[in-house]
């Protein structure tokens, strides 16, 4: 379309806009009924009253938009593997950039991340997108979500032979493969909090206990983990436990990164995170004042997993990525960027700081079927407890 077209009378402006308003975004749409009606007879003589300069200003704005869109639509020649994950994975300090670099070296492809707030959002998003999803691989669900995820029928078997893992329990699953694991814990600053609670019971029942930051179980896997942790310990009395805890919850954030960010800014003395989080402060910041509070009842276990989608556009690349995820190249990135226990790296290869972390045993865990059956009900129970 020549530029002079844009410079004619305003009705064209509208038809051009309509072209872009149409979701197909093709130039064809610009030939709207209005444009066909716009015979030059009357409009040309009228044109001078609506100054051309003014329209030109608007049109240059439009062109800007058009080129902006064209630029984003520019496709790369290499095949693109699309991985849906949570945002702390893809952040500058997370494992994302290093994993991308290492994988792209061997795959001759482009690895694209789509980052959501946290793990539970991943599953919701996939359900919302259904079979039309653009994801090839989803990385960041956990064992509390796997049964529910399988039931959607959106995932494909990975077809990769079993491999001995470092997980506490033997792993055998034809769809999901683990990449790391950890235990939920409340992390605090020893300089600020002298008497941390020694058990979940103390945290819940001590009315003058420390304030905490937690995550929403509807979006975040640590949030979901805490909900299950409390459920495991309190059973039917979980609602009362939450009501007890409620006055000391500073905020319920959508994802882990927000809550941890607020904790580091000093908004609350304790935050829900992992037993492995202090390793970050020891290794990256050379600070040993952050530590996890060990609870007598034990800590809830989380295994983070990935899987490929049944409708993946790049099934071979997706499988390659899952294989790569089990390799040492990927696994050795995890301890010092995702700050979790890698699933396929022997204990001896862990950084030294990991030896100083608290022992989370006994590990608490619901079966994936139990969680799948009850997650909605328990979440609603949690919502009701928090709403009062």
């Amino acid at each position: 379309m020549p530029f002079s077209f844009f410079k004619s009378t305003p009705p064209h402006l509208f038809t051009v806009l309509l072209g872009y308003a149409s979701p197909c975004g093709s130039a064809k749409a610009a030939v709207s009924p209005a444009a066909r009606l716009n015979r030059p007879t009357g409009s040309r003589r009228f044109a001078p009253t609506l100054s051309r300069y003014r329209s030109a200003g608007l049109f240059s704005m439009l062109l800007f938009v058009m080129f902006g869109l064209a630029a984003t639509a520019n496709a790369d020649e290499k095949p693109v593997l699309s991985v849906y994950t949570y945002d702390s994975f893809t952040s500058k300090w997370g494992p994302g950039p290093k994993v991308k670099e290492a994988f792209e070296k061997e795959c001759h492809c482009t690895l694209n991340y789509v980052a959501l707030e946290d793990g539970v959002s991943l599953l919701s998003r996939l359900k919302l997108e259904g079979e039309n999803s653009k994801a090839d691989v989803v990385l960041g669900l956990d064992t509390n979500l796997t049964a529910e995820a399988k039931a959607t029928g959106l995932f494909a078997p990975h077809g990769i032979e079993e491999k001995p893992s470092a997980l506490p329990n033997k792993w055998s699953d034809e769809i999901f493969l683990p990449y790391d694991f950890g235990y939920f814990a409340f992390v605090y600053d020893k300089n600020r909090l002298k008497n941390p609670p020694k058990s979940m019971q103390e945290l819940v029942e001590n009315k003058s206990g420390p304030k905490i930051l937690i995550q929403d179980p509807r979006t975040s896997t640590p949030g979901l983990g805490l909900m299950l942790w409390v459920k495991k310990i309190y059973g039917d009395k979980a609602t009362d436990a939450w009501k007890n805890l409620l006055p000391r919850i500073v905020t319920v954030s959508k994802g882990w990164s927000e809550a941890y960010g607020l904790f580091l800014k000093g908004e609350a003395p304790m935050v829900l995170s992992y037993t492995t989080s202090p390793a970050y402060h020891i290794i990256a910041e050379k600070k040993d004042n952050y530590t996890a509070a060990k609870f007598e009842e034990g800590h809830y276990q989380q295994v983070e997993v990935a899987a490929m989608l049944a409708n993946a556009k790049q099934p071979e690349l997706a499988e390659d990525f899952l294989r790569f995820m089990q390799s040492e190249a990927f696994q050795s990135i995890i301890p010092e960027s995702n700050w979790m226990y890698p699933a396929y790296l022997p204990k001896e290869k862990l950084p030294e700081a990991y030896q100083t972390l608290i022992d989370p045993s006994p590990a608490l865990l619901f079966t994936e079927e139990d969680v799948a059956k009850n997650r909605k009900t328990w979440t609603r129970e949690w919502l009701k407890a928090m709403a009062n």
Partner: protein, 524 residues
């Protein structure tokens, strides 16, 4: 032909609203929801739903009470203080919140009252306190601007008589001012109540925790957090019932208040006595409105400008915002144009009822909240397509619909008058269709056209509602980007984004009003 086009637009509007609604009613209730067994009868028994409904009403009622009572105090002070230097400037400042996007105002509120702000309220800000502050920021100036003209409508002889009778300030209030105000109060309160009940961006950012969630935010959460369409449908239907109820109540008042742009003093104010407390109230009002904007500006200028401006996401989001704004304006103006010309034609033929119906249909969005339509569309479309791919198109359509009432209000009166004047002439000269639009209508109606284009564009650009439902990091607008920065507590970056959003809205408004509307009074 004109009338047929009008009916056609009416049909499109009805279809666009009723199809999503229908899909809500017919939604598949078996999708693994925790609400499988909910019926209208036991909604109230559900503690979560009950909490959400009660909180929605509570925050709206409190916001209305605060905005109207404080607004009354301020309007009273303005009326009594008479003319003073900066009066126009201050009232202009009070007009600003009407054009500031909600999400930008939220950022301003956080900059002032947040943990690192000038007047830290601590964690109390997130919840009812913050929501009330933000709603007050928007609705206090609105109520002042709605109430102030009332003083102009009080006849001068009332004041003279009151002085002759030696009435005290209290007696003046009881016998002269209050009776005049009392009449408009229900209408103004209802308008503000409706605005607060459907406010989304404010509650999403400052509330949203399980304790402070309104229906609109709960709808968003059930779709995006829980993937529980059934719950979303229930909530959307409750919201719909509430809005319809309010619309019915509103219909009982002959007319809802209109914003009177003329805030000059016409009444003879010599008889009104000024008091130092009036000045104090005005000063406090100015401080309350100005500080959030000022804090945002200062935070933005101190922030990492280079980092934010160098981010490609920002520019892509800006492109989408501009695209959405301009396209939505195009849609509302063309729909509005066809509706209004048909309505004017009908009125010309003395078919008043049909004319009114057509004009009224443009305000359908007041009855069916945008988020309810969005939810319906989401459920209707998600089975067939990846709704996230179509985000921008859907957002444009719904924003276009949201702009329609404004087009009808700004363009309607002018077009009606214009038709009365030129209808016969055009018929005589056999000028019709496209030619008439270009030669006759457009030059004479440039001003209202430009104003409505500017209004709708600026509003759609700053809107954070439906885009939150459909947007993704790849299809983010400036307002959604700002929301993400805010919820990640990246305050310096958020302040800059807010400033850019505000400036682009104002710039778009100014450009469109000038370029389409023209400098001089072209008529209309």
């Amino acid at each position: 032909m004109k009338i047929r086009l009008g009916y056609f637009v009416l049909f499109i509007l009805l279809a666009f609203v009723s199809l999503p609604l229908l899909s809500l009613f017919l939604a598949d209730n078996s999708l693994g929801s925790a609400y499988r067994d909910t019926t209208p009868l036991n909604i109230w028994q559900d503690a979560y739903l009950r909490g959400v409904i009660l909180f929605s009403l509570k925050q709206a009622a409190l916001s209305t009470l605060l905005s109207v009572s404080l607004g009354l105090l301020l309007a009273w002070s303005f009326a009594h203080f008479g003319d003073f230097p900066f009066r126009t400037l201050i009232l202009g400042l009070f007009g600003l919140p009407l054009v500031v996007p909600a999400i930008v105002a939220v950022l301003g509120i956080v900059s002032v009252y947040g943990a690192q702000g000038w007047l830290p309220l601590g964690s109390k800000l997130y919840g009812l306190t913050g929501i009330l502050l933000a709603h007050l920021f928007f609705n206090l100036p609105l109520s002042v601007r709605l109430l102030l003209p009332i003083w102009n409508h009080i006849p001068d002889q009332h004041w003279r008589i009151s002085v002759q009778l030696g009435m005290s300030r209290k007696e003046q209030w009881t016998f002269i001012e209050w009776p005049a105000i009392r009449e408009s109060l229900p209408g103004i309160s209802l308008l503000i109540f409706m605005l607060c009940l459907t406010s989304f961006a404010v509650v999403l950012t400052l509330g949203g925790g399980p304790r402070s969630t309104t229906l609109e935010v709960a709808i968003y959460q059930s779709l995006r957090f829980d993937f529980d369409p059934t719950q979303a449908v229930i909530l959307a239907l409750i919201q719909l019932a509430l809005s319809v109820l309010l619309a019915l109540i509103a219909a009982r008042f002959s007319h809802l208040p209109d914003i009177d742009p003329d805030l000059n003093i016409h009444a003879d104010t010599r008889h009104l006595s000024a008091h130092w407390s009036h000045a104090l109230f005005i000063f406090l009002g100015v401080v309350f409105i100005a500080t959030p904007l000022l804090a945002m500006l200062i935070d933005a200028l101190k922030g990492p400008l280079g980092e934010v401006l160098g981010d490609a996401n920002l520019w892509r989001a800006m492109g989408f915002s501009i695209l959405i704004g301009l396209s939505a304006a195009f849609i509302s103006i063309s729909l509005g144009w066809f509706l209004l010309s048909a309505s004017a034609e009908l009125a010309y033929q003395k078919k008043t009822r049909m004319a009114q119906l057509l004009e009224l249909s443009g305000s359908v969005i007041y009855v069916v909240p945008p988020l309810v339509i969005g939810t319906g569309l989401f459920i209707l479309l998600s089975k067939h397509i990846n709704v996230f791919d179509w985000a921008i198109a859907i957002v444009i359509l719904i924003n276009g619909l949201m702009g329609l009432p404004f087009v009808i209000r700004t363009l309607g009166p002018a077009l009606r008058q214009h038709t009365q004047k030129y209808q016969r002439l055009c018929a005589n000269l056999n000028i019709h269709g496209w030619q008439r639009f270009i030669k006759i209508d457009l030059p004479l109606l440039r001003k209202p056209l430009g104003l409505s284009a500017a209004l709708v564009t600026a509003m759609a650009m700053g809107d954070l509602g439906v885009i939150a439902l459909f947007g993704t990091p790849q299809t983010s607008t400036l307002s959604l980007l700002l929301y993400h920065r805010l919820s990640a507590y990246q305050m310096p970056q958020a302040a800059i984004t807010a400033l850019i959003l505000l400036l682009s809205c104002l710039l778009a408004f100014w450009l469109l009003e000038r370029f389409i509307g023209g400098k001089s009074n072209a008529g209309g």
